[in-house]
């Protein structure tokens, strides 16, 4: 009995001493952090994609609490995360629409010509810097997968020399947008279904020389969607662009595009 008692007492005494030391340390040495940082970090998805412009979710959370960043920059978290964060921080949330990446090119190997046989490292920027790229069209997708390599969600794959985004996996972080040497990836509303898959603004004859499916700026899509007043399309040189503020709804214009570069939901077309 005494043995048990001594043991208990000794351990308790040692424990008490240790507790005292820790208490003192906590009182005089501890570093206080804003508890909201933890809460905000928990509300963020934790993908560490960097799409918000900060080095990971923790960094963004710290900036949010410090007030140097505004909520709403987290695309993967979407509305749920943003409103949650706004609640924690006590500010009004802005509704954000889910955006996904769109590769504005449909010139596969069987549609767009290649002017040379590229031999070198498998990277778009490197290929683009080698004699201007092996693709005949200098605006088109090179297909060496720089976007696929940076995608934190593995939502991009290369098929037949062309990058294709899986809409369901894409979180709209925008990393691919900045890494593409041809700048042909755009973040578009996930709800939009009709897209112009071309990025070449030069005149028709030059486009048709290098690509079988390049936009020549014939404006038939505009005509078929209710004319200029309807405002479903904008034009940059000889290139049509969907006005995503006011996207066309009538899918019949897709079949009427003479160049076949307007597609309906291309994200799903390849059977992903």
């Amino acid at each position: 009995m005494t043995a048990i008692l001594t043991a208990t007492l000794v351990i308790a005494a040692v424990g008490a001493l240790a507790a005292l030391a820790l208490a003192v340390a906590d009182r005089y040495l501890a570093v206080r952090e804003d508890p909201r940082i933890g809460l905000v970090t928990a509300a963020l998805p934790g993908a560490n994609c960097g799409g918000c412009g900060f080095a990971g979710c923790g960094d963004y959370a710290r900036a949010l609490v410090a007030g140097t960043a505004a909520p709403g920059a987290c695309a993967p978290g979407g509305d749920a995360a943003n409103s949650e964060i706004a609640k924690i921080l006590g500010v009004a949330a802005e509704a954000t629409e889910r955006r996904v990446a769109l590769v504005k090119c449909c010139g596969t190997r069987s549609e767009a010509i290649r002017v040379g046989d590229y031999n070198g490292i498998c990277d778009c920027a490197a290929a683009a810097a080698t004699a201007g790229g092996d693709k005949g069209c200098r605006y088109g997708c090179l297909g060496y997968g720089a976007c696929a390599n940076v995608c934190p969600k593995h939502a991009i794959r290369i098929e037949d020399g062309l990058a294709i985004v899986d809409k369901r996996l894409c979180v709209g972080c925008g990393k691919c947008v900045s890494v593409c040497p041809r700048r042909l990836i755009e973040l578009v509303p996930a709800s939009a279904t009709i897209h112009v898959l071309c990025n070449n603004p030069v005149r028709g004859p030059e486009v048709t020389k290098v690509c079988g499916v390049g936009c020549i700026g014939c404006r038939l899509c505009e005509k078929n969607s209710g004319g200029k007043e309807a405002g479903h399309f904008t034009f940059n040189g000889f290139l049509a662009h969907v006005n995503y503020e006011n996207p066309p709804a009538d899918a019949t214009l897709v079949a009427k595009c003479p160049r076949k570069c307007i597609k309906e939901d291309p994200h799903f077309e390849a059977g992903v």
Binding site: V115, G116, D117, N119, G120, I121, D123, A125, A126, A128, A129, T130, A131, G132, G133, D134, R138, N149, V150
Partner: protein, 449 residues
């Protein structure tokens, strides 16, 4: 004047097969004026020139068609008389697109060429000479084409102690400089004297690789009675002996710190061809509108050294060289070590096109690279004493910051590492890739500020 052997070698370097015998003994031939010329507004690194003509304009030979536009920039002149048929984006030798003035040359030009008034360099002031170098559009004809006027006007706190003439021409196949030194040694001498005046009397070192005996002899003859501190420095035949930093070291034992320009150690390096062009510009008032290009390789019927106007299409050059042989697989603008691959012959020459090489499948092939085996060939070959193996592995793993830590920004892109890699890795391309993305990042950062 004396001829000395270079005392200070550098570690590294490689011995590629030179193939200079194909054209080294052939005199420079003048190309008959081509029907069309496409003169790019982006003749060199730095800002492209501002175009001064439009479609339909008639231009005279030597007329200014592109204006200096920025600090590192040089004006562009019409190489021949004719009519401007278009001003449109064209692909240049480096693969980039820039506006080019397309000139349909006149068969018998009625107007006289527009020349600048000749200057007597002995009486002209330093400022006048410098203005002439600038107005004549003189830029480095060896590699990147740095405008000479910028080089020859060092910042006031720097003094040029050595003027180094780069006659190394270490790239295989190329013999343009070699021939220029033989045939135009007197012009080079005149250019040297003018530059010496502009730079306030520096010592002159003419660096020539040991495999150009005829060039050395010609220079010795032309410079025999020159006054002042002038030496011909015979460099060992080793690639990349033509690199500025290594030449400065070989001639003066001075080391250019990483990221610094030669003037930081009191040196100005200029290509021999540029010096000859400079002499023409001062004495005869002729702007820089033509240059010597070596057309060679096993894909051309008759390798030769051609003096052609800037803007000549590669197809015209090849036609002059007897046409292309069957089975050409690769076309290179420049030398095989640092030159640019071009996708077609529809590209026009610039002031920096030192060579045009056509190779058949017998000498080039599609390779596939395997993982680095750490053999150290590239480390031994690197003239900058970097570790290309590690840089390439870091870039391969997308770790640009690590590559920067290994000093990739010091890379010359000379290609010695890729040349010696037994695994056929694109080491140089990895370095280039890392440099490009580091520069882009720095530019983005600067733009943000």
């Amino acid at each position: 004047m004396k001829t000395v052997k270079a005392q200070f070698g550098f570690r590294g370097g490689i011995h590629p097969q030179y193939h200079k015998d194909l054209t080294a003994d052939l005199p420079i031939e003048r190309l008959p004026l081509p029907r069309t010329l496409a003169v790019s507004m982006s003749q060199h690194l730095g800002a492209p020139a501002k175009c001064l003509v439009k479609k339909g304009d008639a231009v005279a030979k030597g007329q200014l068609i592109g204006e200096r536009n920025g600090f590192i920039s040089a004006p562009v002149h019409a190489p021949a008389a004719g009519t401007v048929t278009a001003v449109e984006p064209r692909q240049g030798p480096t693969g980039g697109w820039a506006d080019a003035v397309v000139i349909e040359t006149a068969e018998d030009p009625s107007g006289a060429p527009v020349l600048m008034p000749p200057l007597d360099w002995k009486t002209a002031s330093r400022e006048e000479l410098l203005a002439r170098v600038n107005d004549a559009g003189i830029c480095g004809m060896g590699g990147a084409g740095f405008p000479s006027a910028v080089k020859l006007a060092p910042p006031p706190d720097k003094h040029c102690e050595y003027l180094i003439l780069n006659g190394a021409e270490c790239e295989p196949y190329l013999t343009g400089d070699c021939r220029t030194m033989i045939e135009r040694a007197d012009r080079i001498r005149l250019g040297v004297e003018i530059m010496r005046k502009i730079l306030a009397g520096p010592a002159v070192r003419i660096a020539v690789e040991a495999n150009k005996l005829a060039s050395i002899a010609a220079l010795e003859k032309a410079f025999a009675d020159i006054e002042g501190n002038v030496e011909i420095v015979v460099l060992p035949t080793l690639y990349p002996q033509g690199s500025e930093k290594h030449q400065i070291y070989a001639c003066t034992k001075r080391l250019v710190p990483p990221g610094a320009l030669p003037i930081s150690v009191g040196c100005v390096v200029e290509n021999v061809g540029t010096v000859a062009a400079l002499a023409d510009a001062v004495e005869n008032g002729v702007p820089l509108t033509e240059r010597v290009t070596t057309v060679s390789g096993d894909g051309v019927a008759r390798p030769c050294n051609v003096l052609a106007p800037v803007g000549t299409s590669y197809a015209d050059l090849v036609a002059f060289a007897g046409g292309e042989k069957d089975g050409v697989r690769k076309v290179i603008s420049g030398g095989p070590m640092m030159g640019f691959n071009v996708p077609s012959l529809q590209i026009a020459t610039t002031k920096t096109t030192s060579g045009l090489l056509l190779f058949t499948a017998a000498s080039v092939f599609q390779y596939s690279s395997s993982p680095c085996i750490n053999c150290g060939s590239c480390v031994r070959a690197c003239p900058m004493q970097l570790n290309p193996a590690y840089i390439s592995r870091a870039v391969e793993a997308n770790d640009i910051a690590m590559a920067e830590g290994f000093g990739v920004m010091n890379c010359l892109e000379c290609g010695a590492c890729s040349f010696s890699c037994p695994a056929y890795r694109d080491v140089t391309q990895f370095c280039r890739r890392a440099k490009a993305s580091i520069r882009a990042k720095a530019a983005a950062k600067a733009a943000k500020k």
